[in-house]
């Protein structure tokens, strides 16, 4: 069994998908889930403004979609860009639903420890401001920003996932960074009262 699991982990994502399409065994999709679920859960969590329950639900739905649409996968392309494309579209659908309902998310307020140092307090305040800045972005800007700086995708990969040109990705990244900076102006390292080092 151990030997078998070692073998399955040696396969690439695309090979696992190929086996899953041809043989239909769940072990291949379970291996892919093991590889990508933490990353995708984090992506949903950030895209849905910290709604962990909804993120879990979307993650399960995403893999059910992968099982249903396995025939649509092109084994010559990267699996992770394909799965992130589906995830990104799911976030887009969810965002549109919220827009139609005219509802907004509440920003999660992080608990501040009772005993804190002024530096720690500044860090917490900075994180809250940063989250607010990201959440205030438009959906398209937010997608590229999170994919680039949270998930570490290249511009080319983001372009594939978001189904836009590379130029658009670059532009969205630039303006997303510019917009967020407005929310954390008061935490400028030049301003002495708020100087702190990010570890």
């Amino acid at each position: 069994m151990g030997l078998f699991s070692k073998n399955i982990s040696a396969f690439s994502d695309e090979q696992l998908m190929d086996f899953f399409i041809s043989k239909g065994h769940n072990k291949y999709i379970e291996e892919l889930y093991k590889r990508y679920s933490p990353k995708l859960l984090g992506y949903f969590f950030r895209m849905l403004q910290g709604d962990s329950q909804k993120s879990e639900d979307l993650l399960q739905d995403l893999f059910l979609k992968v099982i249903e649409r396995k025939q649509q996968f092109d084994i010559n392309k990267k699996f992770y860009t394909w799965i992130f494309t589906i995830a990104s579209n799911m976030c887009k659908s969810d965002f549109r639903k919220l827009e139609n309902r005219n509802t907004t998310y509440d920003y999660p307020i992080e608990k501040i420890p009772f005993e804190y140092e002024s530096n720690l307090f500044d860090k917490i305040e900075f994180k809250i401001a940063l989250k607010k800045g990201i959440n205030e972005l438009s959906h398209v800007h937010k997608v590229v920003f999170i994919l680039r700086y949270n998930e570490g995708f290249s511009v080319k990969e983001i372009a594939q996932i978001a189904e836009v040109s590379e130029g658009t990705v670059k532009s969205r990244l630039y303006y997303a960074t510019q917009n967020i900076s407005q929310y954390i102006k008061e935490f400028s390292p030049i301003n002495e009262s708020h100087v702190f080092k990010i570890n």
């Binding site: 999709i29 879990e56 993650l59 130029g167 532009s171 900076s181 990010i198």
Partner: protein, 206 residues
Amino acid sequence: MEKDIKSNEWELQLLLEQKEFNELSASEKNKVEKLITEEEYSIRRQLIIATEKESEKLVPLPLVLPSKKTGIVIPLYQALLAIAATVLVMLFLKFPYSNIEAINGSEEIKYVSITDTIKEIEYVYDTVYKEIEKAKIVEKKVYVPQTKIKYIETYSKTDLASKEILNAPNSYQKPDLKTLINEVDGSESLADEPASNLFPIIMYRD
């Protein structure tokens, strides 16, 4: 509409991802300062680094897979045989009990009373009359059989002497008065006589 990004803007974005402001070369600083201030650069650099380091450690739940359909295909002849066998078994099970069913066939009507409302009547007595019945005096008449009467009558008819009736056997032993009276003890008084204590008895009896 998406704004087109200029080449120097993208260069700035790449520098923000890679270097602190004080790490920039002179030419890079010149390029940067044409677009933004040093302070603005530091802020943007800070937010990119903070976002990259921001990582909520979330543990996903296990994958719940839909139940798989079993791909077993049964040939038609096997299915037909199975149906035929089932019918035979059903007939076999039904047949031996058919007579019993005929005997027990008559419908038994059972009446089930359904009471939806129960009224409980309780009598409360506020006055109690106590009736005491007086004891009845029963007069008992005892009839003597006629044979005794006849016997008495017989006696009266025969006109028996009263002497004989009085001399009927008695358990009492009469004292010998003659002897007692004639005994001399020297006294003149009757009270001193030894038999004087018998006088009352004699008197009562006579």
